[in-house]
């Protein structure tokens, strides 16, 4: 029994002695906590300083000792610098995703400089988990982190880019909510992804046109469901690139609440600035037979004139056609289907009957009278 204990003890000591040959963190920090410690590399002075407090708080510092990663450091006095460690050695999946990204592509040698791991996650020895409030990749800090490059006018200009997306985002309903501390609001990565940020013309990108409803739907799921049923959603499902997705009406980075007069979907802007982009010209009528001049005919009507006069209670496009649920009049679920017109017009004009509602709207001013005198008014076709 005594012999057994002795052997075990000796074995333990031997192991300890073997381990002791590897430097401990204290040994490393004996030198590396000196903030003036530098080395020469390519004629440049590179700091070798490690902030111990930050290292200990970092996700890696809490899990590993120095030599767990810097495996090639055998003794505290090492002549050769340890080999460079790439993040991908452990984070292969993240690195693989990053390699696909716009950042990685832009970062090719000889090209412009774009974000790498440490640009977003912080200095190697100070990386915090994303769940920690101080982390630059914590949800609430994402806009500020991306803004370190995307909000720098000269930096972005040098790469032929603009800071406007970032500036617009800051003023958007999302950006303001984040600033107020509402963590639920969308930040850059919620729409763009993170490691694998892809340009909008890449079908895998969450901001690829046909993926936008799904991307917005991650938060606005109920709206997405309604939109998918609408004529716009149906056309998107069929792959019609002329149909609008969320961002075509609401803006992209600049999205504002619909009650904000600056929003493209506000009462003031909806008809003239937003629906008109597609429903005024001949594009849709030439390609798909969807009637044009929907906005000019509206603006000539009492509704349109009063809205130009500043009324925000008068009917605009959405009052009759709906918002996300827009459908052609032929669809029984459409707000302008003949079966639903009494209810739709009746929102404002209480007590209207079909004799009132079943008449052409969107009349061309010049032909208004003649058109009216030609039809007998008894349930003529409703132009939509």
């Amino acid at each position: 029994m005594c012999a057994q204990v002795l052997v075990l003890t000796l074995f333990s000591l031997a192991c300890a002695a073997h381990a002791a040959r590897k430097p401990k963190d204290e040994d490393c920090l004996a030198c590396h906590s000196d903030s003036s410690l530098t080395k020469e590399a390519d004629g440049k002075s590179v700091s070798l300083y490690i902030n111990e407090a930050k290292l200990k708080k970092s996700i890696h510092g809490g899990m590993f000792t120095c030599v767990d990663c810097h495996k090639d450091v055998e003794a505290s006095l090492h002549e050769t610098p340890p080999a460079k460690i790439s993040c991908g050695q452990c984070h292969a999946e993240a690195e693989q995703a990053y390699r696909q990204s716009y950042h990685a592509r832009a970062n090719k040698p000889g090209g412009t400089s774009a974000a790498t791991c440490v640009d977003c996650h912080g200095p190697v020895h100070e990386i915090l988990p994303a769940s920690v409030a101080a982390s630059p990749v914590n949800h609430a800090n994402i806009p500020a982190t991306c803004g370190r490059c995307h909000g720098q006018k000269f930096l972005m200009k040098a790469s032929g880019e603009s800071v406007q997306p970032f500036v617009s985002y800051q003023a958007s309903v999302h950006g303001r909510a984040i600033e107020r501390g509402a963590d639920g609001a969308a930040v850059c990565t919620d729409c763009h992804g993170w490691h694998e940020i892809l340009p909008a013309n890449d079908a895998r990108s969450p901001i690829y046109k046909f993926n936008v409803p799904g991307t917005c739907g991650k938060c606005h799921g109920a709206v997405e469901q309604v939109f998918r049923q609408s004529i716009h959603g149906q056309a998107i499902t069929r792959g019609n690139g002329l149909a609008p997705v969320c961002t075509d009406c609401h803006g992209i980075h600049s999205i504002k609440a619909h009650l904000d007069p600056d929003s493209p979907v506000s009462e003031q802007n909806l008809a003239g600035a937003t629906c008109a982009r597609c429903h005024e010209g001949v594009r849709l009528s030439q390609e798909f037979g969807v009637a044009g001049s929907r906005v000019s005919t509206y603006l000539d009507s009492y509704h349109g004139l009063a809205s130009k006069g500043g009324s925000v209670v008068v009917a605009n496009c959405a009052s009759c056609h709906g918002v996300h649920n827009i459908l052609p009049s032929s669809d029984p679920n459409s707000t302008i289907n003949r079966a639903n017109l009494n209810a739709t017009c009746g929102q404002c004009h209480k007590g209207v009957t079909q004799r009132f509602t079943l008449n052409k709207v969107h009349l061309d001013g010049n032909t208004a009278i003649s058109a009216r005198l030609r039809c007998d008014g008894s349930g003529e076709s409703i132009s939509h």
């Binding site: 009492y302 009957t353 009132f356 008449n359 003529e380």
Partner: protein
């Protein structure tokens, strides 16, 4: 800069013009009654409501125009104002119907306004006279052909605007009763008649009462209810009834020792 300079010019001329206009007004000799007090009140209601209707109506049709900007009403206030003015005009029109049916002055008015074949010849003759093709100018009764045309255009226009205006006001009732395209027709009629009426007032009426060199700067009858007897004799020589009354009155006042050259109402100096 432009505002100050032109503003000063305008103010300067306004002061001069006002003084001269008053002086010319005071210099009028003997006058004859042209409009009774009731008629002047009817005219006042008409023109105030008419101007308000024109401004608030065209402000709807041309929301980006300068006068819509100047008016600066929200749609709610604009629409309420337009309806109030419309109700006043319709009320004045209704009163006028009662007036011409029930009062002596009213019946005389409508008798004098009644169009006659002579009016057509008068218009022709007047044109010939002013083109230098005729030596004599036609003589007119209490109302000449231009004034008669004005009156009946007003009657027709008011009736049409009132009818279409009421239709649009009661849009749900009318739309349910007749079909909504009637409202679209009413809208178009209301607009084009408004353009016609406004231009008629500017071109026809304002010439007769303001810009005609014979009456410039203004025919004061709308305010004083009277006009100079000299001018009346010249323009309405066939209205012997009025001229006889005026002559009788002049005789009376002369007999009482009044100077016939002073205005009939010198104790009330006309104000701007």
């Amino acid at each position: 800069m432009i505002f100050v300079v032109i503003g000063a010019m305008f103010l300067h001329n306004l002061i001069v013009w006002r003084s001269k206009a008053i002086a010319r007004h005071k210099a009028q000799g003997q006058t004859v009654p042209r409009m009774t007090s009731s008629q002047r009140w009817q005219h006042a209601l008409l023109f105030v409501s008419f101007i308000v209707l024109v401004l608030t109506g065209f402000a709807l049709k041309y929301p980006n125009s300068w006068f819509a900007e100047v008016l600066g009403m929200g749609e709610r206030l604009r629409s309420i104002t337009h309806r109030i003015a419309g109700a006043i005009l319709i009320g004045a029109g209704a009163y006028h119907l009662i007036y011409i049916a029930m009062t002596r002055d009213g019946r005389r008015l409508i008798r004098d306004f009644a169009p006659k074949p002579k009016d057509a010849f008068d218009a022709w003759g007047t044109m010939r006279y002013y083109l230098g093709l005729n030596r004599t100018k036609p003589k007119f009764g209490r109302f000449n052909y231009a004034e008669k045309a004005e009156y009946w255009a007003l009657v027709w226009g008011t009736a049409l605007m009132a009818a279409t205006g009421i239709m649009l006001w009661a849009k749900v009732f009318v739309g349910n009763l007749l079909a909504r395209w009637w409202l679209d027709v009413a809208t178009a009629v209301h607009f084009y008649e408004a353009v016609l009426a406004t231009l008629a007032i500017l071109v026809w009426h304002f010439y007769q009462v303001f810009f005609d060199p014979d009456v410039y700067p203004m025919n004061w009858a709308w305010k004083d209810g009277s006009m100079p007897v000299e001018r009346y004799r010249e323009e309405h020589g066939l209205d012997t009834e009025t001229l006889a009354e005026a002559g009788a009155q002049a005789a009376t006042t002369t007999a009482e020792g009044f100077d016939t050259d002073t205005p009939t109402k010198p104790e009330v100096p006309p104000q701007e």
